[in-house]
């Protein structure tokens, strides 16, 4: 009987079986991987070969006790759809297809680490159970997510692709002037804003910041001229690179591609007729060159210039200071051993040379969205600057539902909600939730609802969440959620995935999703000092409290300021917080009677900073 004979559906399936264990077969390409390593003198020869080859029934008998059928059916929906016995499938087909029989055993990892097992042809899970475990062979690689991130980071060219050579479809200088002249000369002011991509095309941290800033300026009739490199890159463009195209956006509408030189010439020509209120705002320098930006500053001759510490690009091209994309590096000296082995190390000196050149040539006011970010910046650099201050992106104010776009607070900024609690931050007061059930009810307490909000990325703490989810499997105290715009490559079992896509017209999507699922705790376990972390504010707005790491920058500070959540010293402490039941008690008891919600109000970014001339004595 073939696959159609047992009614396999149209969904892609790798399974074909006729109900007899001995005739289950794979429809995947042949499983005959080349051994990744040659056998060698240290490979413990013969250790796997001293076993007698078992029958499929004998394999099944051994494997059955450790096989996790629920897990198998959860992560392999094709098996579930096929309606076959999962254990039989694994024994006859799944192992050869390198499918995993339980969360804690990775078939591919095991075979990669044990070429003698691979060569023997034994079922790797069976081998582990009958021999490998006693020999100390690990059932899976640990830190898998970090390893994946490391490999991705190493594989990616740090600078990204070089931009296409000129000429592209650049507007002529005359046409460019015609496109800009009316608006720039007739506006109440002109802002020249710089970031790494066209902010109207996607929604991310910097894009949101720039977009909100533009809206705030537009509301005051200030022309907002934004430039981004035609080709985004994760590093500064080399100083010696030939001229390339940049994208020009005016008041949120795309204008054209042009060059730094043409734009500088147009701005210089228009300057006598430009309004007095002129400002240069540097949000993100990646993909740009410092020299042409300096020339643009000269052409615009603004009243002041602002550099935002939206990330740490002015300290290292690895803008979140994750060494090899994996671990917070602490921004050591560029000639350190850590930088030597980091993918960002080789380009860091030239990168910092350009940054230093820019700061030397342009008098800059430095603005960070949090005290934590400013502290990291001031520790990690010695760049000259006129002043340094903290200016939050958003404020959390009491009130109902989030809005599609954020209103702008007044220049002084509306005071943040809550925040009146003692800043010990460890178990501060929190709300209870009438809908969640309390101890003493006949049915017992409902599980505490815990979420990871955002993409499954190392820099957002996904590995720590995944590890915690594995430890909490089967614990009735907790129900786990993953709110995300994109499914992870391998969804976690027992974690409910919830779509939450923040878009220009749906800025409140994450908060709404958190509210809709009555999330109690949001884990923000970022392994680097977040400069702001909007999702932490969205969690608070949705009435959830935070579980943060003390090294996660603004996030633990936010917990301490608001008294909303707990701060853990490390991932192990987070795990202990949950396993001990303290997290459940925190939600059910310590936080009883309070559900603080709120709405996020934009502070207007640079639009609410008073224009400042050079400040004597600062820097």
């Amino acid at each position: 009987m073939d696959a159609q004979g047992i009614g396999l559906g149209p969904t892609p399936s790798n399974v074909a079986m006729d109900g007899l264990a001995g005739s289950v077969r794979s429809t995947r390409p042949g499983f005959a991987p080349d051994p990744p390593w040659e056998p060698g003198p240290y490979a413990a020869p013969g250790t796997a070969l001293n076993l007698v080859r078992p029958s499929p029934e004998a394999v099944a008998a051994v494997v059955a006790a450790a096989f996790d059928a629920d897990y198998y059916l959860t992560i392999y929906p094709d098996i579930r759809a096929a309606g076959v016995d999962p254990l039989q499938h694994f024994v006859m087909v799944g192992a050869a297809e390198t499918r995993n029989p339980a969360r804690w055993f990775d078939t591919s990892d095991y075979l990669a680490a044990n070429p003698d097992v691979l060569a023997s042809g034994f079922n790797p899970f069976w081998h582990y159970l009958v021999q490998g475990r006693a020999q100390g062979r690990p059932p899976r690689r640990l830190h898998t997510a970090e390893r994946a991130a490391f490999r991705l980071t190493r594989a990616a060219a740090p600078g990204g692709p070089a931009p296409a050579a000129l000429p592209m479809a650049c507007l002529s200088p005359a046409s460019l002037q015609a496109a800009l002249e009316g608006r720039l000369t007739g506006a109440a002011g002109v802002v020249l804003s710089v970031s790494h991509d066209r902010y109207t095309r996607s929604v991310g941290g910097v894009q949101i910041v720039v977009s909100d800033e533009q809206l705030a300026f537009s509301a005051r009739d200030v022309a907002y001229l934004h430039i981004a490199p035609e080709t985004p890159r994760l590093a500064l463009a080399p100083a010696a690179e030939a001229p390339f195209c940049i994208q020009l956006t005016l008041d949120g509408a795309y204008v054209c591609t042009t060059t730094y030189a043409d734009l500088a010439a147009v701005l210089a020509g228009l300057r006598p007729r430009l309004p007095a209120l002129r400002r240069l705002v540097l949000h993100c320098l990646l993909g740009h060159q410092a020299g042409p930006l300096t020339a643009l500053h000269g052409a615009l001759a603004p009243q002041d210039a602002v550099f935002w510490v939206n990330d740490y690009e002015s300290i290292c091209p690895g803008y979140n200071l994750l060494r090899n994309g994996v671990e917070f590096c602490g921004a050591p000296p560029p000639d350190s051993l850590a930088c030597k082995v980091c993918v960002h190390g080789p380009g860091r000196v030239a990168h910092l040379d350009q940054i230093a050149g820019l700061f030397a040539a342009v008098p800059l006011h430095v603005v960070a969205p949090s005290a934590a970010a400013l502290a990291v910046w001031q520790t990690g650099t010695r760049l000259p600057h006129l002043s340094a201050q903290v200016h939050e992106y958003v404020a959390l104010v009491p009130g109902p539902a989030p809005a599609a776009s954020l209103p702008v607070a007044d220049a002084a900024g509306s005071g943040p909600a809550a925040g009146g609690h003692d800043a010990s931050g460890r178990g501060g007061s929190r709300r209870g939730d009438a809908g969640q059930g309390d101890a003493g009810h006949d049915v017992g307490p409902a599980p505490v609802r815990v979420a990871f909000a955002g993409l499954a990325l190392v820099q957002k703490g996904w590995p720590a969440f995944a590890a915690l989810a594995a430890r909490l499997q089967g614990m009735p105290d907790y129900k786990l959620f993953h709110l995300t715009a994109a499914l992870p490559d391998q969804p976690l079992p027992d974690v409910e995935t919830v779509p939450a896509r923040v878009a220009p017209g749906q800025r409140g999507a994450m908060t709404e999703a958190l509210l809709a699922h009555a999330i109690d705790l949001v884990l923000v376990l970022s392994p680097w000092p977040e400069t702001f972390c909007l999702v932490a504010y969205e969690a608070l707005a949705a009435g959830a409290d935070l579980v943060a790491l003390q090294d996660s920058g603004n996030v633990p500070d936010l917990v301490l300021r608001t008294g909303r959540g707990v701060v853990a010293t490390d991932v192990e402490a987070v795990t202990a917080f949950f396993l001990s039941g303290a997290a459940a008690r925190y939600v059910r008891l310590a936080a009883a009677g309070r559900r603080d919600r709120g709405r996020l109000v934009s502070r207007g970014m640079t639009s609410t900073l008073p224009v400042a001339g050079p400040v004597a004595g600062a820097g």
Partner: protein, 355 residues
Amino acid sequence: MRTCCYTSFTLTYLPRARILLQTLRAAQPGWDIHALVVDEAPPGVDLAPLLAGFDGVMRLDGLGVPRVRSWLFGHGLVEACTALKAAAMLRLMDAGYDRVIYLDPDIAVFHPLEPALDTVAGASIVLVPHQAEPNWQPVAILDNEMASLRYGVFNLGFIAVRADPAGRAFASWWATQVHAACRDAPDEGLFTDQKYADLVPCLLPGVAVLRDPGCNVASWNLSTRRLRINRNGGMTANGVPLRYCHFTKVGGIGDLMLERYAGDTVEPLEIWAWYRGELARHSAQPQVPANWWYYGRFADGVPVTPAMRHLYRTRSDLAAAFADPFTAGEGSFLAWMGTHQPGLLAATPDATAAS
């Protein structure tokens, strides 16, 4: 104290030797660094720029080894490179260095070595073991303890010897042993120059075993070394500065051991990936063919096989008759084999068989 460090290699290992040179120079700028090149340049290749940066280059004919080409014919590549280390050490002592340190070419140095050597400052001979802590898991014991028993307790990728009487006695004894028998034959109790080191603490005074976990981090001890990269930019192994890693068999069995014993840490992967990247960078403009070894072929290009080496090494009459066995043509050892051992010539399939 005048210290020099040297390494021994054939030209295919030049990229590795250059990584050693570059990292050692950064960590120990006061040391002289010499190269022992057990090879000759391919036709048309100028070695001078390839060996730039070394303070001295030792060649085969300058080592004082009697009938060196005859002796060399009896040895494979690894055997030759390891055996000549001892002769080179004697030469460097004679040149006036107070302390001579050997490092394998596939080593990279991270933090300075001197602080570790200071802990054994009184010793004339410093050895580093493959392992400095026991393993307890059967697989790890098979991979490590059993391998040490077979291939030698100490890793002679490193040895530091003072030019004092005890150190000179060691170097002379070592040179004598390896000249007589430096073979990759663990079933006979031999493994190049390395296995002899097992005897050194028993035979000679002034020997120290450097158990610093920052030294000799390699696939054979990753199971007991926890590598960290710190926020101050430094690196540690088991909490002490990471001094050097030995990147043995990168791309081969070393990768398997890395996977098996890196455990739940990513730092070993980062460090090994860096080394692979450096290797690729230094190999980017190959001027030496991949399988090149001048002494792997006869003068006419016919590969020298292990069987030919064995025959020549074990027949003193042949060694006496053919002083330079690498020659070809009438009257050569190669011609003699064509007449008396044609089967050996028939078994020379291609260049890769040469060793």
